[in-house]
């Protein structure tokens, strides 16, 4: 029975991965019909960057897009309208009127036209709009929507796990058991060895949240037509800042002494080492943030480039090689999705552990 079940799961997984390759395939095909000349850089950037509507497939007026709210903070208060008001236009041609002001979407950046202006004038050389301002954009974009889905998913999963422990003392069954295994993995393999027996419980909520948020976001990013959340530098900056804040708030006297006035070395070296150590405090979270961003972005670019090869070389025969290879990379990305969540949590725990550990005084 058990082998039966697992083989069915395997078949379902394979089918899903094939569908995944084909969906990017379909997107590309329609891309090419519109643009006579295929531009791989443009196609890849379109797929990995954030946008105001959730685009699934199709091009131009036939595009299937989930409209998302656009929320803008202008000098005359908050202006909101749905992204469908732009009619899939990202070239700044379609003008939307809201609250008496005119807005255009130019390359996924929203510009507010000056009073009395009818169309956007954009200076390509200086990358600046001549007759428009950029209002403060707090829109619910594709990435924000995807993060909200991840958050809801996490709340549902972990409240069900917590409820189970309230009801009974027995080990949970089925899917909740998998969750328990992962929580224990984070506790015993990441938090305890890096932070130490005494203090690790205080940091468990952060480590668990970061681990599951990154992992689920990474996995969701691999779904066809999904947002590239952890491959967005702003999101990884925020995650890195959380770790930095935790280190700065929780660091003990020993840690600061090691940063500013390292004990046990000649005095003339101390100021030089202090500069290096102060830089190190900030380089640690920066490295964390770039590692996650670059890993996930690189994975997406590789898959898209492999599929893009078919259109660059304009031969269908290339598909016989590049589609299986893209499939292979997609499977590899499943591993990378877990590994990057693990590495981020592990290094966060390591840095926090360095800041809170007690030194033995000799």
């Amino acid at each position: 029975m058990a082998t039966h079940k697992s083989s069915r799961i395997t078949v379902a997984l394979m089918l899903f991965l094939f569908l995944n390759s084909f969906s990017s395939f379909a997107q590309l095909e329609t891309d090419e019909v519109v643009d006579e000349e295929f531009n791989p850089t443009e196609m890849i950037m379109h797929h990995i960057s954030d946008s105001h509507g959730w685009h699934f497939f199709g091009e131009g007026e036939d595009a299937v897009t989930l409209p998302l709210p656009v929320i803008l903070w202008t000098d005359s208060g908050i202006v909101t309208f749905m992204s469908s008001a732009f009619h899939h236009d990202t070239e700044g041609e379609y003008v939307v009127e809201a609250d008496g002001r005119k807005f255009v979407n130019y390359h996924e950046k929203i510009y507010m036209l000056d009073e009395g202006e009818e169309a956007l004038q954009f200076d390509e050389a200086s990358h600046a709009a001549l007759n428009a301002d950029r209002p403060f954009d707090i829109s619910l974009t594709k990435n924000v929507a995807s993060m909200l889905i991840t958050a809801i998913l996490m709340i549902l999963l972990f409240t069900s796990l917590a409820k189970h422990y309230k009801k009974s003392k027995k080990a949970p069954k089925g899917f909740t058991n998998i969750l328990e295994t992962l929580v224990i993995f984070v506790r015993d393999e990441i938090a305890k060895p890096q932070i130490g027996e005494k203090k690790f419980m205080k940091f468990m909520p952060f480590l668990l949240t970061v681990f599951f948020f990154i992992w689920i976001s990474n996995l969701m990013g691999l779904l066809p037509g999904a947002a590239n959340v952890t491959g967005n530098i702003s999101i990884t900056v925020a995650l890195g800042l959380f770790t930095l804040a935790l280190i700065l708030v929780n660091a003990n006297k020993d840690y600061w002494q090691h940063v500013f006035w390292m004990p046990g070395i000649p005095t003339f070296v101390k100021p030089i080492l202090a500069i290096v150590e102060i830089l190190g405090v900030f380089i640690k979270p920066i490295a964390l943030m770039i590692r996650l961003f670059a890993n996930i972005t690189a994975g997406h670019i590789i898959i898209l480039s492999l599929i893009g090869l078919i259109f660059i070389l304009e031969t269908a025969g290339v598909a016989a090689i590049s589609v299986p290879f893209a499939l292979f990379i997609t499977v590899l990305e499943l591993l990378v999705a877990f590994l990057q969540a693990f590495i981020f949590t592990m290094l966060s725990a390591l840095f926090i552990g360095m800041a809170v550990q007690e030194h033995e005084h000799h």
Binding site: P193, A287, I290, R291, F293, A298, I343, M346, L347, L350
Partner: protein, 74 residues
């Protein structure tokens, strides 16, 4: 000019990958030897190996990001 930019960016990405390849290879090789010598410590060795490999890979990805910026901003 365009070709020069792209060429230099590609060269940079290639060099970064070369360095990371040597680094990760050495880490993996040493970990393999260590596990062969002490199979009972394989869990600990694997964790340490993954951390070291991630640090090396991080540097390589800095190179890749810099190369990407070189291509995309021209």
């Amino acid at each position: 000019m365009e070709l020069l930019h792209v060429g230099i960016a590609a060269l940079g990405a290639g060099l970064a990958v070369l360095g990371a390849g040597i680094g990760v290879g050495k880490i993996g090789g040493s970990a393999m030897e260590a596990i062969a010598r002490q199979p009972e410590a394989s869990g600990k060795i694997q964790t340490a190996m993954i951390i070291a490999a991630a640090l090396v890979e991080g540097v390589a990805l800095f190179g890749v990001v810099a190369a990407l910026l070189g291509v995309l901003t021209t």
